[in-house]
Amino acid sequence: MNTMAVEVENLSLRFGDTIALREVSFYVAPATFTAIIGPNGAGKSTLLKVILGLLTPDSGGVSVLGQKARSLDRGIAAYVPQKKTFAGQFPATVLELVVSGLTGTWPWRISRTHRERALRVMERTGVGNLANQSVQALSGGELQRAFLARSLVSKPQLLLLDEPAAGMDIRGEAAMYHLLCDYQAESGATVMMITHDWEGARCHADQVLLLNRTVVGFGSAQEAASEERLLSLFGHRGHVHETHAGAADD
């Protein structure tokens, strides 16, 4: 039997009286791209943190490439968080940030090998010219690309991204999707990404997980994130569809 990249079975988690996730089950095959879509407060970020082993579920289980999430070996999974908790106060260069993804610790010095490897990935994510720039001097989009480089530099088998396109312009967003697809094709890695970009998910993801504390839909973009489901989940179909629908009505 082939090992699934991610297996989530009957996962439930509460924060006090609030249900964050309820009986969530799904399986993600290796070397696939999964977009996770859901309204605010749907438990998307919480789900990623459970998969990373940062949160312990009340019930149910999660395994990643055959290992229990809580005891996942270092370097197998990489993560791009939604909130950058360092809040811009830590004195660091972009190169140090990226190398930390390689060493798994904060580098007090950077070897030539690590520098070259980091710079290659930084070129791909579009921050190659910012190596010695302070992370505090970066724009929101540049910071996201720096964190993306950080997550890719260790060549993880599982890449978990929490709204990585936040703060990027439309060109940056398109480049990011292409980069993720290229990386997946080259390395055979599994990518799971939280996004609010339905169109991007439809174009690039192999499958969509529609989440609202429990699984609302899971499968190909057409079947999982149908307009009816999105409408029932969000009460809205998004601006693109609204415009098209309006044009059709005219």
């Binding site: 830590f90 904060w106 580098p107 302070s134």
Partner: protein, 268 residues
């Protein structure tokens, strides 16, 4: 100048002061970057409670103050980890508690009250060989924690990413605060409870203003701290003012200079 350096009490003051400065330079940047600047002051006040307890029990005050202050440091981390209270609130609670205990212990043995003031203001010029040996032992402990630098720095940068990379972030935080607690208690004899947090905060804050790499921040912190001790001690002897405050005035001058450089050069 050579005459000053030949005085045994000045030699001990310089050695003790520089040892404390080196240790404070190792921990200070972590304290400042984690926004725990209030911690040094909090632990120093906890040390007061421990010193008073030692005096009440008739034991060597610092030897009682070390476990007492370590216990307070552990309690601060535990309260932070298990409640929604901020670090400042947790520290504030334990400052009040420790001071209250200290005052009660001194009240129960009033003859100790005068000795306690030594710890409030420190007495770097009265250091003995035992104090130097204690500082050396603390420096060895500090050097043993050098391998933790990368992990501490990583968790200081982003706790979540450090946890993703399987670092024991909570255990490391306990270790860091316990190490700082030991340093604070030993520093109390030298610069006093009221000034001890300056060693942890002012040089690191000055360094932060002119550094855009954490390792550089550590280097500048060391320079300001050690320079502050040497210049402050010599100046206090020449101008005949108390040594502890003189050291801190030199550190503050360095902060002012760093602030000007930060504004002019726009270091981020």
């Amino acid at each position: 100048m050579i005459e000053i350096l030949s005085l045994p009490f000045m030699q001990r003051a310089l050695i003790g002061g520089v040892l404390i400065a080196i240790m404070a330079s190792f921990y200070g940047p972590f304290i400042v970057q984690r926004r725990l600047a209030f911690l040094g002051s909090g632990l120093a006040h906890a040390a007061f409670g421990g010193v008073a307890l030692g005096m009440y029990l008739g034991k060597e005050p610092l030897l009682v103050a070390i476990p007492f202050t370590v216990l307070v440091a552990v309690a601060i981390v535990w309260v932070r980890a298990h409640t929604d209270l901020g670090a400042d609130t947790a520290i504030g609670v334990f400052i009040s508690l420790s001071m209250a205990l200290g005052v009660i212990f001194l009240y129960l043995r009033e003859e100790n009250a005068a000795d306690a003031t030594t710890y409030l203001f420190g007495s770097i010029l009265a250091l003995n060989r035992g104090d130097i040996y204690l500082s050396c032992a603390a420096l060895v402990a500090c050097l043993l924690s050098l391998p933790l630098w990368g992990r501490w720095a990583y968790a200081t940068f982003d706790e979540t990413l450090a946890r993703v990379d399987r670092h024991p972030v909570m255990r490391d935080e306990y270790l860091l605060l316990v190490s700082v607690a030991v340093l604070v208690v030993i520093s109390v004899k030298i610069v006093g409870i009221l000034l001890v947090s300056a060693f942890l905060v002012i040089p690191a804050a000055s360094a932060r203003l002119i550094s855009h790499r954490f390792i550089h921040m550590m280097g500048w912190t060391l320079l300001v701290n050690v320079g502050g001790v040497i210049i402050g001690l010599l100046a206090s002897y020449l101008v005949d003012v108390p040594s502890g405050p003189a050291i801190i005035l030199v550190q503050s001058a360095a902060f002012l200079l760093a602030f000007v450089v930060h504004r002019v050069a726009g270091v981020r």
